[in-house]
């Protein structure tokens, strides 16, 4: 086939520029560490990467939500275990003052002690974290319990019965909130029981003191049931978090597989392209030296 002079030069130049272009493309991947730098590099892979990263962002948020619920539940658990102790102490007092060895005086002083413990229980019911009353349901800007003043001092629950929820997965919510109603009043009205005990002690009323003991037991059970409920929720949240962590890890691996440049291969490709380009440049030099007019005198 006939080759014109221009063709020769053009071919030499084209080959060298193509070789250089390949080298530069490898370098671009070195710089970013990724095979896919824009969607057109690999549209299918890019779509998958986008979907995975979208999922991981959602996962991270769920972990945040779970962390928020966990700190609430941990706080609730620690104050409620205090409640169990307080109720145990009250029961001990009741036992002592129900026996024959008690007198009007011992009962009177016991009443004062019970009153202190009563205030303590009220304080727990109105626990605040920051500016929120944690046992008031949704109406958490006001104390959950208030004394309504009508004798004997009765305690009103001023909160509501809504349990706060968080989102833990796509379309999945979990309730974590606790209401003071459930813990302190519902089946056994603990405040009423303790208040009645105090009244009985003040009135030297042995039967009253005796009656309160069963109710105190029910109260203890009620509180411990709620503590178990908290424990159950914390366990579930831990399980969710762990699932999410391993899911994120797996998804990150998938993203890396698609997106990350294989450095070992890149390095060897680059070395090969460099050698090839050097050979091209040398041979181009030799070809350019050939000139028939060197030989025609």
């Amino acid at each position: 086939m006939r080759i014109s002079t221009r063709q020769t030069y053009d071919a030499l130049v084209n080959n060298m520029t193509n070789g250089m272009a390949k080298l530069l493309k490898s370098q671009e991947m070195f710089a970013s560490g990724k095979k896919i730098n824009k969607p057109s590099d690999d549209p299918v892979g890019a779509r998958q990467v986008m979907d995975y990263k979208d999922m991981m962002s959602g996962m991270t948020q769920y972990q945040r939500n779970i962390g928020y619920a966990e700190s609430y539940l941990n706080e609730a658990e620690s104050v409620l275990s205090g409640v169990s102790d307080t109720l145990a102490k009250i029961k001990e007092i009741a036992i002592n003052e129900a026996t024959g060895t008690a007198s009007a005086q011992t009962r009177a002083s016991a009443a004062i002690e019970v009153d202190q413990l009563y205030q303590q229980l009220l304080g727990v019911g109105n626990t605040r974290i920051g500016d929120k009353y944690i046992f008031a349901g949704f109406k958490n800007n006001n104390p959950a319990f208030s004394i309504n003043g009508a004798p004997p001092p009765a305690v009103n629950y001023d909160g509501d019965t809504n349990e706060a929820e968080i989102e833990v997965g796509i379309g999945r919510k979990m309730a974590y909130g606790l209401t003071g109603d459930d813990i302190f009043k519902n089946t056994t009205d603990i405040y009423q029981v303790v208040s009645d005990l105090k009244t009985a002690l003040e009135g030297n009323n042995a039967t009253g003191i005796q009656n309160s003991m069963n109710d105190l037991d029910s109260g203890v059970v009620q509180v411990s049931n709620n503590i178990s409920k908290i424990g159950g929720r914390l366990n579930r949240l831990t399980a969710e978090t762990e699932n999410i962590s391993s899911f994120k890890l797996e998804t990150q691996k998938l993203v890396s597989n698609i997106e990350d440049a294989d450095f070992a291969k890149l390095v060897s490709d680059f070395a090969q392209q460099k050698i090839s380009l050097e050979a091209l440049q040398q041979s181009t030099g030799k070809v350019l030296e050939l000139n028939i007019f060197n030989y025609i005198r």
Binding site: M50, D51, G58, A164, I292
Partner: protein, 557 residues
């Protein structure tokens, strides 16, 4: 004597011919690097024979002509492949610009800001009384809005750039066409006295090659040496000394995008946009109409959908201050425009959304079948909403949650009048957070359950994964958006591959041409030597004849 003279004459033809040949060789050598040059060669043939002394004897050599070595078929192949290359390289460039707007891999695009916005909604759901969380939410809403507005503006700018470039390319085509027409004339004049105007033909081929990059052309040779060029499937662009001037025209029914128009015999113009099949003009038109416009519409649809779904849930909830019925994002408004071809005088006086939950985000047309009846068509889904409705000036026209009022000012509507209604048209441009007071963010579902009620915020957060919001109830915001990116990426990759491939093809075609018409230094060098010998030998003959003459003269002394 006549014999000696004859020999001298023969030698003379040899000298002249060799001289001409060397001149042509010199011309070839001088033009070795001229890319438009086709090598020339001298065609020689024996001069006419004569009868002399009973035998037929030759009278030397004559130059038939200086031929331009050229293969017409190869030239046409170059034009075709250049057209394709022009198209695909333009598409590659334009799509790479669009891709940069949607490049989520580098942190542009919508995915990240959308996720961060919904994460902020969840943070507020976790802690609805936290002022900090609410303020952060408004901030992320602003970031989302800025990104959507920014993308909208960039796409609009790039589309405008495409239209400007179409106009520019049309001017270039007209310019080249008129140059070809004038060279046609020059060639006609130059060749009227015989011979071929090789350099003018080279120049004309170069112009036509440039022309082929812009638009698809068919090149026909006239018998008189002129060429006729038909463009975009048969429109006569150049005919002898005349060239047509194409133009551009804004199409009001296509968002003001330019159509390419060709002058017709009546002095008007016909739209040839769809007839252009190759060249950079095709690349521009194709990407504009088949990638830019649909992607733009989809971006607007996402903005409209986010606005509609979010506002709908937000209005039903309660802020910390007990307020309700507030929009979070700027409310959607329908854009209603009268077709430029309407003949009646009726105009739209008011339009708005009356029931957000019934809005479908489709585009509609209110078509008047007479001055008193109209039908409503959903043009996105090609369904008829109502037909034969009676028209009263100033009455409410309600459909799919939208209300439009048309009145007879300054005149009545006529049959064939069309009004276009679109919710999505300005949705991306107008997208923004309308809520300014963080306390009014409606996290609560019931006023009685304030301030800890986070159920409305949870419902808003759940929109992120709601797969019924788009694509006729099959896509979430993210998946709908991701499909736009994937589509652009695929088209960009395709055009890039096509451009590379076409580059190789053009190279191959040009090599084929060069193989026939290109100057080879070695060949010319050898020719130089060859013709030099011929010259020397012819000169030697004259010396010999001179010698013979002397011998003859000295015979008779």
């Amino acid at each position: 004597m006549s014999g000696l003279n004859a020999i001298t004459n023969i030698a003379k033809t040899g000298l002249m011919t060799a001289q001409t040949a060397i001149q042509v060789t010199a011309n070839n050598i001088a033009n070795v690097n001229n890319p438009d040059y086709k090598r020339q060669r001298v065609n020689m043939s024996s001069a006419s024979m004569i009868l002399s002394g009973g035998t037929i004897i030759g009278t030397g050599v004559a130059v038939d002509g200086i031929e331009r070595v050229y293969d017409r078929f190869l030239q046409l192949q170059i034009y075709n492949s250049k057209s394709s290359l022009g198209r695909y390289s333009k598409e590659e460039y334009v799509l790479s610009r669009l891709e940069a707007v949607f490049n989520d891999l580098e942190g542009y695009g919508l995915t990240n800001v959308l996720n961060e916005f919904f994460n902020a909604v969840q943070d507020t759901a976790n802690d609805p009384t936290s002022y900090a969380a609410r303020v952060a939410l408004l901030g992320k809403g602003d970031t989302l809005a800025a990104r959507i507005n920014g993308m909208e503006s960039r796409i609009r700018q790039q589309t405008s750039d495409i239209n400007k470039e179409i106009s520019g390319k049309v001017s270039d085509v007209n310019n080249l066409a008129s140059q070809v027409a004038s060279i046609n004339q020059e060639i006609l004049k130059a060749e009227s006295s015989g011979g071929t105007a090789n350099d003018l033909r080279d120049k004309r081929d170069a112009l036509i090659k440039s022309l082929s990059e812009y638009i698809d052309i068919t090149v026909l040779d006239n018998n008189d040496g002129q060429k006729t060029i038909l463009a975009a499937g048969g429109n006569p662009l150049v005919e002898s000394a005349f060239s047509a001037a194409m133009g551009v025209r804004a199409d009001a029914n296509n968002d003001g995008n330019y159509d390419v128009v060709f002058p017709d015999v009546t002095g008007g113009y016909t739209d040839i946009t769809d007839n252009i099949s190759s060249g950079s003009l095709k690349g521009l038109i194709n990407t504009r109409d088949n990638t830019f416009t649909p992607s733009f519409t989809k971006l607007k649809t996402i903005a409209a959908s986010i606005t509609k779904e979010f506002n709908e849930i937000h209005r039903a909830g309660y802020g910390l201050d007990g307020s309700t019925g507030n929009d979070f994002f700027n409310a959607l408004t329908p854009d209603v425009t009268a077709n430029s071809t309407n003949t009646g005088g009726a105009l739209v006086t008011t339009s708005g959304i009356i029931n957000l939950s019934q809005v479908t985000l489709s585009d509609y047309e209110i078509r008047f079948t007479s001055s008193t009846t109209f039908s409503i068509v959903d043009t996105t889904n090609n369904t008829v909403i109502s037909t034969g409705a009676a028209y009263t000036s100033g009455a409410n026209i309600d459909f799919d949650g939208i209300r439009v009022v048309i009145t007879d000012t300054p005149g009545t509507p006529q049959a064939g009048d069309v009004f276009k209604v679109s919710i999505t048209k300005n949705a991306a441009m107008n997208f923004g957070v309308s809520l300014t007071d963080a306390n009014k963010f409606a996290a609560a579902t019931q006023a009685a359950a304030l301030p800890g009620d986070n159920r409305n915020a949870l419902a808003l957060a759940a929109l992120k994964d709601d797969s019924t919001v788009l694509s006729n109830g099959t896509a979430t915001f993210s998946t709908y958006y991701a499909s736009i990116v994937a589509d652009i990426g695929t088209k960009a990759q395709d055009s890039s591959r096509n451009a590379s491939f076409q580059d190789v093809v053009v190279n191959q075609m040009e090599n084929n041409m060069d193989s026939v018409s290109g100057v080879s230094m070695e060949e010319e060098a050898a020719n130089l030597v060859k013709y030099q010998y011929a010259y020397q030998a012819a000169a030697k003959i004259i010396t010999v004849v001179d010698d013979l003459f002397n011998t003859l003269v000295n015979l008779v002394r």
